[in-house]
Symmetry: C2
Subunit: 367 residues, 2 copies
C-alpha cells in the first residue's frame, strides 16, 4: 500500500479523507436508524469507494445504493444487496443488472411501464429475478409516478411480470431541503401520501415491503415519516459545507478536504490556490448561491473563495494574513459528491495519522 507520513509529501490539489471522522459519521447514522427501527442503505455516489462502502456495511447497513449499474458492479464486492435508485432500463444498463442478479440481490426503482418491460425482458433472458420499487414523486418533481393511483397502476403491471418482484416504493424528498426544525410540515405531507398509496395497494392485494426514503438533509428526521422502512443518505459519510449550512452536521464532521497549495499572492487582498472548478466543482452553496463562495478554507476562517477558474481558486482574505507562497491550505467543498467524482484517487488519514492512497473505484463509469 502506498502510504506517506505527512500531507506535505502529497502533490496538490488532492483529496484527503479523515478516517476517524468517517467512522464517527457512519456510527452516528447507524445509531439513528437503529434507535428508530429503520434500515440503512447508504448511497455510494458520495464516496464511490469500495473501502468506504465496506465500512458502511460493517457498521450495519443492509446494502448499498448506486446510480449506475457500473457502480453496482464495483460495490458488489462490498455487499450482496444493491439498489439502483435510477431508471436503469436501457439496453446498456439493464443487461448488467440481470447478470448481477444471478448472484446478488438487485433492485431497481422505476417510474414507467417501458422500464418494467425492458427489465422483465433481460431478467427473463437471464433466468433471474430483479426486485422493483415504484418511484413515487413526493414533491421534488424530477422522476416518479404522480399519484397513488399511478403507483397502483404501475405496481399491478410489475406484479404481472414473472421475472420481476414488486418490493415496494422509493421516494426522494429533495425539495425538503431546509433546516431540520422546519421539515416537519413537508414530511407530514409525504407521510400522508405514502399511507394513501400503501392503503390503496393493500386493498388490491399488493404489499410495499420496502419503503425507501431520504437523503442526508432529511435523514435524521426520517422518524417523522413512519411509513419508511429504510433510508438512503449518501453525503453524511463525508459531509460538506452544504450540510453545515443546512444544520445537518458541524464543521468538524466534514471528513473530506481538498489539500491545495498557495500559488499566487500578487493581487492585493487575495491569494490564489491550485484548486479551481476542475478540483472543487462550481457547485454553489444552496443557502446563499451568490454570496457564499466555493468552499471553506480551514486555515483562513474569515476568508472567502470568491471566484473559481478551472485551475485557480481566488481567495478574498477579508483581513486574514496572506499565507506564504507555496504553503498548504485545506478546503471543505460546498458539495462533496461531485468533488469526489473529479478525483481518480484520494488519501485516507488512517487511525494512526498516516495517509494511505485509495482509489475512487466507481468513478468514470459511463453507464
Amino acid at each position: 500500500m502506498n502510504t506517506v507520513a505527512d500531507i506535505s509529501a502529497l502533490p496538490t490539489p488532492t483529496l484527503v479523507v479523515d478516517l476517524p471522522t468517517v467512522r464517527r459519521n457512519i456510527a452516528n447514522m447507524a445509531g439513528y436508524v437503529k434507535s428508530h427501527g429503520l434500515k440503512l442503505r447508504p448511497h455510494a455516489k458520495t464516496h464511490k469507494s469500495h473501502r468506504i462502502g465496506r465500512l458502511q456495511i460493517d457498521a450495519g447497513a443492509i446494502g448499498l445504493t448506486v446510480s449506475k449499474p457500473g457502480e453496482a458492479v464495483v460495490m458488489a464486492d462490498a455487499c450482496d444487496d444493491l439498489l439502483i435508485a435510477y431508471p436503469a432500463f436501457d439496453a446498456f444498463r439493464a443487461p448488467v443488472l440481470a447478470s448481477m442478479a444471478a448472484t446478488k440481490t438487485v433492485r431497481v426503482a422505476v417510474d414507467s411501464r417501458h422500464a418494467v418491460d425492458r427489465l422483465a425482458e433481460v431478467a427473463t433472458i437471464g433466468g433471474v429475478t430483479i426486485g422493483v420499487l415504484v418511484d413515487l414523486d413526493v414533491g421534488f418533481h424530477r422522476t416518479g409516478v404522480q399519484s397513488p393511483a399511478e403507483a397502483l397502476e404501475l405496481a399491478k403491471y410489475i406484479s404481472l411480470a414473472h421475472s420481476l418482484r414488486l418490493d415496494g416504493l422509493m421516494l426522494f424528498p429533495g425539495h425538503v431541503f431546509t433546516r431540520s426544525e422546519s421539515q416537519a410540515g413537508p414530511l407530514a405531507k409525504i407521510a400522508s401520501l405514502l399511507q394513501e398509496t400503501i392503503d390503496l395497494w393493500k386493498r388490491h392485494g399488493l404489499a410495499a415491503t420496502i419503503v425507501s426514503g431520504g437523503s442526508t438533509p432529511t435523514a435524521m428526521q426520517s422518524h417523522l415519516v413512519p411509513q419508511l422502512t429504510e433510508i438512503r443518505p449518501g453525503t453524511y459519510v463525508y459531509n460538506d459545507l452544504n450540510c453545515v449550512a443546512g444544520g445537518w452536521c458541524r464543521l468538524e464532521d466534514c471528513a473530506a478536504r481538498v489539500t491545495c497549495t498557495v500559488v499566487s499572492t500578487a493581487v492585493p487582498g487575495k491569494c490564489v490556490i491550485d484548486a479551481g472548478s476542475k478540483t472543487l466543482t462550481s457547485d454553489r452553496r444552496f443557502d446563499a448561491p451568490d454570496q457564499a463562495g466555493f468552499g471553506h478554507v480551514v486555515e483562513l476562517p474569515l476568508a472567502k473563495i470568491s471566484r473559481l477558474s478551472e485551475e485557480h481558486g481566488e481567495i478574498e482574505l477579508n483581513g486574514e494574513s496572506p499565507p506564504l507562497l507555496g504553503s498548504r491550505l485545506s478546503v471543505i467543498p460546498n458539495h462533496i459528491c461531485p468533488c469526489v467524482n473529479l478525483h481518480d484517487q484520494f488519501w485516507i488519514r488512517e487511525d494512526d495519522g498516516r495517509l494511505s492512497a485509495s482509489i475512487v473505484d466507481a468513478r468514470g463509469r459511463v453507464r
Copy 2:
C-alpha cells in the same frame, strides 16, 4: 482502434466530438492569426487530448499551452514547445518541468520572486534552461504583477538567474468577456499598459520577445492589441454555449456534444436525461446565470435544462413534444472545458461518419 458505425451503439452519457467541425474551428483560428501576423499557442485544457493537440500543431500552432506539468508531459508527445501558463513552482511541479526542459522548449509564467527562485533552482540542478514569462495583471485580478514597475522589477530578477531565460510577458484578459463589438475600449487599455511595460523594459535593456495574450472570448480581437506576438485560446477548438451566447461562434460551430438517454417522462411538462452535474458540470451560462439553464438540447431547441442533479438533467419541454423513453438527445454544454474533464474517454466522429474511441489523455493529473 475501437470504432462503431453509429451513435446508437454507445452507452450514455458520453461525449461525441465532430471532427469536421473541429477541423473547421482550428482552420478558422489559424487563418485569423496568420492574417494578423500572430502566432498561436492553443491551450490544451479544453480537449486534454493528444490527438486534438496534434491537429492544432499540424495546422500551424507553434506549440501548446497547459495548466499543469502533468498535462505538459502528455502534450510533449504532440509538440516540442510547451508553455505552462500557471505559476508551477512548487516541489512537485518544478522538477517535472526541469526534466522536460532537457529535450523540449519549456516556458512558465510567474508572478513572484519565490517562483523564480524555485524554477532557477531545479533548472540549475538539471543543467537546463527554462524560459520565463512575467505574468502581468491586465484587469482580471487573479494572478499577475500589478504594474509596469513591478513587471520590470521581476524581469530584472529573472534576468539575473543563469538557468532561466527571460522571454517576455503573459496576460489573461478574462475580464473582457462581452460581445466583440464592446471589447475595443478594454483592449485599448490593455494595449496601453503593455506598451508602457515594454518601453520600461527596453529602457533597462530588457526585451519582451514574447507577449502572450488572449483566450477564446477576445481571440478574434487580438489585432486590437498590437503588442501581442501570440495568443492562447483553448475553447475555440470545440466551442460551447457560452461561446454562442458571447457571439464568438455559431451554434453549428459547437463540435462537442453530450449524447444522452431519456430515462423518465413521468413528470408532466418535463423529461429527464441521464446527464447531470457529473456529466455536464454545474457551470452556468455567463450571460444569464440564473435563467439560461445547463445546456442546449439540439433536438428540442425550445426546451430548457432547468435543473441538474448529479445523474439527472431535468428538461422543461416548453411546448416541445415529449421524447420517447429510451430515445437519445444531444446536449451542447454551457462550458465544454470542465465537461471534457469529467470524461475518461470520448468519441470522435471521423470524416467518414464513423465513431472512434479516444482517450482524454491528460485528465486526472494531480500536479
